[in-house]
């Protein structure tokens, strides 16, 4: 079809039922809510102005294309629009929050091993000279509210396709999963249409399991957090790491390249997924966005795609995610030639049903589809591979250099949009953000509490070990095939009986690189703590980065080459307090990244995690930040696990312990505010972390474990449980800041940047040499007697608990909450 001249005659345009040009704001708003575009008044006005200037009415397909391209999901408008930020008495203007915080750190750090950041479907860093790692973490919260199993499945499917669609495609080698749920034993009434948290959780885990297992991707790293505030809006983060040749990192599109869609057929699935995720959940949420995944279809696509990539048959690939063809083709069209452009004939699309409206075909979010840019001469070779792998494909059209996105069906044009308007026409509106720091808790009251709790330390320890935020995740992990591809050399469950909680997993992609004498691998870890965020989002961001990087160091990764990913899940961006918290968190990300010299390479945000009930009362989630970190492990033979290795070794505690119990598990136990959230001192923390990482890689450390939720007591118990060898520690030896003088604080403070290390006596000297300048104290020794012993500041024992009992407390929680049966795993110490 020839469309060099834009159509002038509005009667040509089907769907001209939108008399947009002459509508008042009220009428526009009515159309917006009726058709579910999720555009605001300014955006509607911009669309109206655009079509006024064209002197014609839009088609439905055009408005739908614009609505999804401008959606929160695709444009991150809350994060990139101007903000007027007020903190205490000072006010300042932020032009683009994302660019001024998270991305600024990456720009300033200028790491040469960052190969592709914030531009493609995933962030890409160098693995070695030949290979690169792509990592992407997505959220799929809104679909999981309505249908946890299908929502989780399609979430995994989507993030896997992101990695398949980065550059020329990467082979997925690791999946990660992080969940925030309401506790499964929640007993209060829930409104109609909201699933009980137990169902949400079991459904989500089953969805992640079935999709990942069927795709043959190990799910080996994750985190789990429970808080009643997630009862209406659970958070489901899914991530994928892919391995690709460095030569496949870049993609390009040339005019005349064919637009080839491969994989599943297009049906009426998930229409409006992108705009749906921009809308808050209410009791009448649309159900059109719910889908079930088809993992084997996607596995076929994976097999066919990577074989075509290795044969050099296409120049670019992207996934069909939110917005379907409109978004995939629209994105790739931007890359074509100097002006970009694409011409599509929708009749060629392979359909599941014949009764789809043209705009539905264009916008459908049917799963398991990818779009390729194929030079015409390669089509025959491509079709051979597709046929063998059982993958259907169709040629939708071709890329052009017209600067326009042109779509027709049966010779009838349905979209003719200026690419520049589509991608850059979104009006930016300033939002207001306010941050008021909460008042600190009173010190005197806290002191008396802690003195009283001194004798209850064993009880507190058991309570924290069995707390859902600390307890064993074995119930989940065993359902994931975390060893497929034979690369998981440090597994999520560690120790003598394979039941200890690993800090991070280490992957050794030997089966892919093919060389068993090449020992380079990589590690992936997470940091997440919404409880700190309730007190101070800035402290939360710092603590999350600190935890994620600390976890990496504990398995022997090279943290000087660590890269970070951010995932913000927030409430309503129109609420100045929520947006203020976001600004704080984003600033924390920037400061932490700069201090730890770890760049962000990719990120994602999810807003509107708010529930409105019948009476109009809103419930928002606490602002939640997930930090995912990835770093190379130069030699997997030096990787570490967290289980105590042998009796008679020294136990060192690295880092300072302060009175930082705000947001801690101890605070949850006591039910009283316990002070401020821990604040990372990033520069000294970075130096210490780098020393630790170097010492671990030299093989000087037998065991390392990061102190996180539950502090020193929990870390010691976990190491002992995992190794089935215990330890005796003396609290008086712990390095502590001024004013810390009671065992409760030392045992349960969640001060950041601390590690519990086991050092063999023959390595102690070299270890101390390597750790010069790092705050470090020998606080005890490992013992054969299976009893965890802790002596207080006065030298009297305050904890003497058998490992058997500690293990029981730690392991029984999830089976009890989810199966209704006590832990039935036969092993006992």
């Amino acid at each position: 079809m020839k469309t060099e001249t834009p159509r002038q005659d509005p009667t040509d345009a089907p769907g001209a039922e939108f008399a947009l040009r002459d509508s008042g704001p009220e009428e526009l708003g009515r159309l917006n809510s009726r058709f579910g575009w999720s555009l605001d008044a300014h955006e509607l006005k911009a669309v109206q102005d655009h079509f006024r200037s064209l002197r014609r009415e839009p088609t439905r397909a055009e408005i739908e294309s614009i609505a999804q391209t401008w959606s929160e999901h695709c444009k991150h408008k809350s994060f990139t629009s101007p903000i007027c930020y007020q903190e205490g008495k000072t006010t300042r203007r932020i032009k683009n929050l994302l660019s001024e915080t998270v991305m600024e750190a990456t720009r300033k750090l200028k790491k040469p091993w960052c190969l592709s950041v914030f531009e493609d479907n995933a962030g890409v860093v160098a693995f070695d000279k030949k290979w690169a790692l792509a990592y992407k973490v997505e959220t799929h919260n809104h679909p999981c509210v309505l249908e946890p199993y299908g929502g989780a499945e399609t979430g995994v499917g989507g993030v896997v396709r992101d990695v398949l669609g980065v550059g020329l495609g990467a082979k997925p080698v690791l999946n990660t999963d992080v969940f925030c749920f309401c506790p499964p034993d929640y007993a209060k009434p829930l409104p109609e249409g909201i699933l009980h948290p137990r169902r949400t959780m079991t459904g989500v885990v089953a969805g992640v399991r079935d999709y990942g297992n069927r795709m043959g991707i190990p799910t080996a790293a994750g985190a789990l957090w429970f808080d009643e505030a997630f009862r209406f809006n659970p958070l489901v983060f899914v991530g994928t790491v892919g391995l690709m040749p460095v030569s496949a990192v870049r993609k390009k599109v040339l005019p005349r390249d064919l637009i080839v869609a491969i994989g599943g057929r297009t049906g009426r699935d998930g229409i409006h997924g992108a705009t749906f995720s921009s809308a808050a959940i209410d009791e009448s949420s649309s159900i059109a966005a719910v889908q079930i995944g088809h993992a084997i279809q996607e596995k076929r696509v994976l097999d066919a795609l990577l074989r075509s990539r290795d044969a050099g048959l296409f120049r670019a690939v992207t996934d069909c995610g939110a917005g379907g063809f409109s978004s995939a083709v629209g994105e790739m069209a931007e890359r074509s030639g100097s002006k970009g452009g694409a011409r599509v004939e929708l009749d060629r699309a392979l359909l599941k049903t014949t009764d789809l409206e043209p705009w539905e075909i264009w916008l459908s979010e049917s799963q398991e589809r990818m779009v390729l840019a194929v030079p015409p001469e390669n089509l025959p070779a491509l079709s051979v591979i597709m046929e063998r792998e059982g993958v259907e494909f169709c040629v939708l059209g071709e890329f052009t250099d017209s600067g326009r996105l042109e779509v027709a069906i049966a010779g009838r044009p349905i979209v003719d949009l200026d690419l520049a308007f589509l991608h850059k026409g979104l009006p930016r509106r300033e939002r207001r953000a306010v941050w008021n720091p909460p008042a600190p808790a009173k010190a005197s009251a806290r002191k008396t509490d802690r003195a009283l709790h001194r004798s209850r330390c064993p009880e507190i320890l058991h309570w924290i070990l069995s707390h859902p935020n600390v307890c064993s995740r074995e119930w989940i992990i065993r359902q994931y095939d975390h060893e497929v591809q034979a690369g998981t050399v440090i597994k999520p469950l560690q120790g003598l009986h394979h039941d200890g909680p690993g800090d991070a997993c280490v992957m050794w992609p030997m089966a892919i690189t093919g060389d068993p004498e090449y020992f380079r691998g990589f590690a992936v870890a997470h940091g997440l703590n919404p409880a700190f965020g309730k007190l101070d989002p800035y402290a939360m961001a710092m603590a999350c980065v600190d935890e994620a990087l600390g976890n990496l160091a504990c398995v022997g990764a090279d943290v000087t080459h660590a890269a970070l990913l951010d995932n913000f899940c927030w409430g309503d961006p129109e609420d100045p307090a929520a947006l203020g918290a976001l600004v704080r968190a984003a600033q924390g990300c920037r400061d932490a990244a700069l201090a730890f010299q770890a760049p962000f390479i990719s990120g994602k945000d999810s807003f509107h995690n708010v529930f409105t009930d019948e009476k109009g009362k809103k419930t928002s989630i606490p602002g939640t930040l997930l930090i995912s970190a990835i770093a190379p492990v130069p030699d997997i033979r030096q990787a570490l696990t967290m289980d105590v290795k042998a009796p008679g070794n020294h136990i060192y505690l690295m880092g300072w312990t302060s009175d930082e119990l705000g947001g801690s598990l101890y605070e949850a136990w006591s039910g009283q505010p316990a002070g401020n959230a821990p604040l990372v001192e990033p520069h000294s923390a970075r130096e210490a972390l780098w020393s630790l990482s170097a010492a671990a890689q030299k093989g000087l450390i037998a065991t390392a474990h990061n102190l996180s939720e539950g502090g020193l007591a929990v870390a010691a118990a976990e190491m002992a449980i995992a190794g089935d060898i215990s330890m005796h520690i003396d609290l008086d030896e712990v390095l502590r800041t001024k004013g810390v003088a009671d065992p409760v604080t030392i045992l349960f403070s969640e001060s950041p940047s601390r590690f519990l290390l086991e050092i063999a006596p023959d390595k102690e000297r070299a270890f101390l040499q390597a750790m010069k300048g790092v705050p470090l104290a020998r606080i005890g020794a490992t013992i054969a007697n299976p009893v965890l012993r802790v002596t207080g500041l006065d030298g009297c024992p305050i904890i003497e608990e058998s490992l058997h009992d500690l293990r029981h407390s730690w392991r029984e929680t999830l089976p009890r909450l989810l199966d209704g049966v006590p832990c039935d795993d036969g092993r006992r110490s």
Binding site: R209, N213, R214, M215, G216, H294, A295, I296, K299, R300, D303, R388, E389, G390, I477, R478, Q479, Y480, D481, H482, E483, V484, Q485, A486, V489, I490, K491, L493, Q494, G495, L496, H498, W508, M510, A511, I512, G514, P516, I636, R637, A639, L640, T641, D643, K645, A646, A702, A760, D824, D825, G826, R827
Partner: protein
């Protein structure tokens, strides 16, 4: 000496093909990934290969029951497979591959080729991914386990691994022909229940062979234990084992070379 060619059969949903190929490569073989369509279409001939491996995964999604659809394909369109087994060349089916061999009637071996056993949903009703201890039947004729110690460890990862038989007679025959190759045991080498027997298999059966010993069906994954670094306990000071899984592949290649 000639490097034996190994056919690694794959189809939609096969996902342990790459590491199985790596295992055979490290064992001294020449693995080739072959799609089942190439076999059905006649592009590839089975008898051009010295060894056949059916790797793990979820062939066709295991939507109906694990391995059923691929087993039907092989039964219907790859008739050579039975004569390949009869020719005495090594055939190994791992996890989903074992399910396929059983449902195609190749294991347990019967004169009529009917299916006499099955691998069904785990007693726990869940996918189970864990390391297990196995006791090898040293009396067996299996060429795959030659010179292996009696007790080994391997990982399992499956949702449908519970071995069941049509009638007690089938089990008797298996015992009599020394076809039960591996059984799940606990740390002391004794039969034990969950989690040592991760799926509730009859007689704790983890792997079976044909009486001649050239066709192996195994639920655990030897291709995931090629080096010491695959074992969950390799970081412990006292750990001194090498990747025992590799020996199974070495035996197959060695057998063909001899």
């Amino acid at each position: 000496m000639k490097v034996p060619k190994v056919l690694i059969l794959r189809t939609a949903g096969t996902n342990c093909d790459v590491e199985t190929a790596t295992a055979f490569k490290l064992a001294g073989g020449d693995p080739v990934l072959v799609h089942v369509r190439e076999l059905i279409g006649g592009k590839v001939r089975l008898f051009d290969y010295a060894v056949i491996a059916i790797p793990g995964g979820f062939s066709y999604g295991d939507d109906i029951s694990a391995g059923r659809v691929l087993a039907n394909e092989l039964r219907g369109h790859v008739r050579d497979l039975r004569s390949f087994v009869r020719s005495g060349r090594p055939v190994i089916g791992i996890c989903n591959g074992f399910q396929v061999l059983v449902k195609a009637g190749l294991l347990p071996q019967t004169p009529s080729g009917e299916q006499t056993a099955s691998l069904t949903v785990n007693d726990s009703n869940r996918f189970e991914s864990r390391w297990v201890r196995l006791r090898i039947n040293l009396q067996s004729q299996s060429l795959f386990t030659r010179d292996l110690p009696e007790m080994i460890e391997l990982p399992v990862a499956h949702g449908e691994g519970k071995f069941v038989v049509k009638s007690p007679k089938v089990l008797e025959t298996l015992k009599k022909t020394r076809a039960i190759l591996m059984q799940y045991v606990n740390e002391e080498g004794k039969f034990s229940s969950y989690p040592h027997n991760p799926n509730g298999s009859l007689f704790n059966i983890a792997a079976i062979t044909n009486p001649e010993g050239n066709c192996l069906g195994i639920m655990p994954h030897p291709e995931r234990y090629l080096t010491r670094y695959h074992h969950p306990n390799w970081t412990r000071q006292t750990f001194c084992k090498e990747g025992i899984g590799l020996e199974i592949f070495r035996n197959a290649v060695r057998f063909v070379k001899d």
